[in-house]
């Protein structure tokens, strides 16, 4: 990220979520981003994941300058390169666990149900495949969300407060699962306000008021 700023127009005022961020993450690195609420952690993650675009500066991910991508290219970038895990899971409520995992491939010609089943198995959800999100516990929903993020075998895994809505034991399990992804050469960027979670990462970056706190 080179001199990245993100401002939001709130009618009469402007909120600066990120202010001139410079950040570089190596391939295969596990990075934790910490900071208080409103420090810009989630905004940073959204920019790296191609969910949002910067107001100023450039975001280069896997050799692509995201600022220059068209809407269609950005969609393809998200589908093929990025897996995202959210605090509130964001599963489709009317689809069962298995369908939720495969949702990004709904329009694709190749879709491996076997891969989805393998993920369910690995994440201990094999008895939950036909359950709707509303029938699953928070931890189970987060694991389905993780399986969905991993389904496309992404190069980058982004996790926004993945332990924020699950109990401590499940939180540790989720972080361990994320950490396991390193062995596949995936870059993992985790956002958390919990230092115990962040300490599991290779490197910690702290944000405050939209800026990186010098380490």
């Amino acid at each position: 990220m080179i001199d990245v700023s993100r401002t939001y127009d709130m009618g009469t005022s402007t909120v600066m979520a990120l202010d001139g961020i410079n950040l570089s993450v190596s391939r295969g690195e596990f990075l934790a981003v910490v900071g208080p609420s409103g420090s810009g952690k989630s905004t940073l993650l959204n920019l790296i994941g191609g969910l949002d675009r910067p107001s100023e500066g450039r975001v280069r991910v896997l050799g692509s300058d995201l600022s220059n991508l068209s809407e269609e290219e950005m969609t393809r970038f998200r589908r093929e390169n990025v897996g995202m895990v959210f605090q509130f899971f964001h599963l489709i409520p009317h689809l069962n666990a298995l369908d939720n995992i495969m949702i990004s491939r709904m329009f694709e010609a190749d879709c491996s149900v076997e891969r989805a089943l393998r993920l369910l198995d690995q994440l201990g959800l094999k008895d939950r495949m036909s359950h709707l999100p509303g029938e699953l516990s928070g931890g189970e929903q987060q694991r389905v969300s993780l399986a969905r993020a991993l389904f496309n075998e992404p190069d980058i895994l982004l996790a926004d407060e993945p332990t924020g809505n699950v109990d401590t034991k499940m939180g540790s399990s989720i972080v361990k699962l994320l950490k396991d992804q390193k062995k596949w050469g995936r870059t993992i960027i985790l956002v958390s306000h919990d230092m115990n979670v962040a300490r599991e990462a290779d490197r910690i970056v702290e944000l405050k008021d939209g800026r990186v706190v010098p380490g």
């Binding site: 969910l51 949002d52 998200r78 995202m84 489709i92 009317h94 709904m106 149900v113 359950h131």
Partner: protein, 241 residues
């Protein structure tokens, strides 16, 4: 795991237990399935969840299509009858009168057909509008995981087409039954009209009803779908603390 699975990738229902057993035994799970079928599974799940609203829409489309079929088939019967009377009539003034009458009836039937078509379009449009306003977050999730704007448009239009199709099937069946009933009543001297000939449900009438319901239903949902597809992926965070 007795509950059946319906994936967005195939409509066919299968047991999750069987699926998992297949997986464990190393068998082939599923092959590639064609695109519309997969999107179809998603839409069926969606309609299943909102069955109440879906039923209301289908009912309104059914009524509209039934009206269309009855009016159109009655009109063809009336026109045939008046034409025959005009041809058989020796007095040119009376023959002209029959022709004029045919034109008037035809115009009024066109107005009724337009009202019925409007009912169909408004029902489908309203259902899709409400559905989309309640599913903004869901569409944002789809966008966030890599579903394109064009694909969202396809999903929404297909949803409208499915609702309209159900309405068309029910409405055309109901309309055909009513037309046959009216035909039977007129041929047996029940009812008031001595001006009505056989009111037949022709393939043309069915085609028109299909075009109006499925075609117009899909068409009216198109601008709504395009507008909904513009949702930004970051909308998924709206309302979160």
């Amino acid at each position: 795991m007795s509950e059946p699975c319906v994936t967005p990738f195939r409509i066919k229902t299968y047991s999750c237990t069987d699926l998992y057993r297949q997986y464990n035994s190393g068998g082939q799970i599923l092959g590639t399935v064609k695109r519309p079928v997969r999107a179809g599974g998603y839409i069926l799940r969606l309609l299943e969840r909102n069955w109440g609203r879906g039923m209301l829409t289908i009912l309104a489309v059914t009524v509209g299509v039934a009206f269309l079929v009855v009016f159109a088939s009655l009109n063809s019967g009336i026109q045939d009858h008046l034409e025959n009377r005009a041809v058989a009539e020796n007095d040119p003034k009376v023959a002209q009168h029959y022709e004029d009458l045919g034109e008037i009836v035809s115009k009024w039937v066109m107005v009724l057909l337009a009202v019925a078509s409007l009912l169909v379009m408004l029902s489908v449009g309203n259902a899709i509008l409400i559905s989309l306003s309640q599913r903004k977050k869901e569409l944002a999730i789809l966008r966030a995981v890599g579903i394109s704007r064009g694909q969202i448009v396809q999903l929404v239009v297909a949803e409208a087409a499915v609702l309209s199709l159900y309405g068309f099937i029910l409405g055309a069946s109901l309309g055909a039954c009513l037309s046959v009933l009216f035909d039977w009543m007129f041929t047996n001297g029940i009812g008031t009209s001595a001006l009505v000939g056989p009111s037949l449900v022709t393939p043309g009438v069915v085609l028109m009803a299909a075009l109006v319901s499925v075609g117009m239903g899909s068409l009216v949902s198109l601008p709504l779908a395009v507008s909904a597809s513009r949702v930004e992926p970051v909308e998924i965070f709206r309302g979160e603390v």
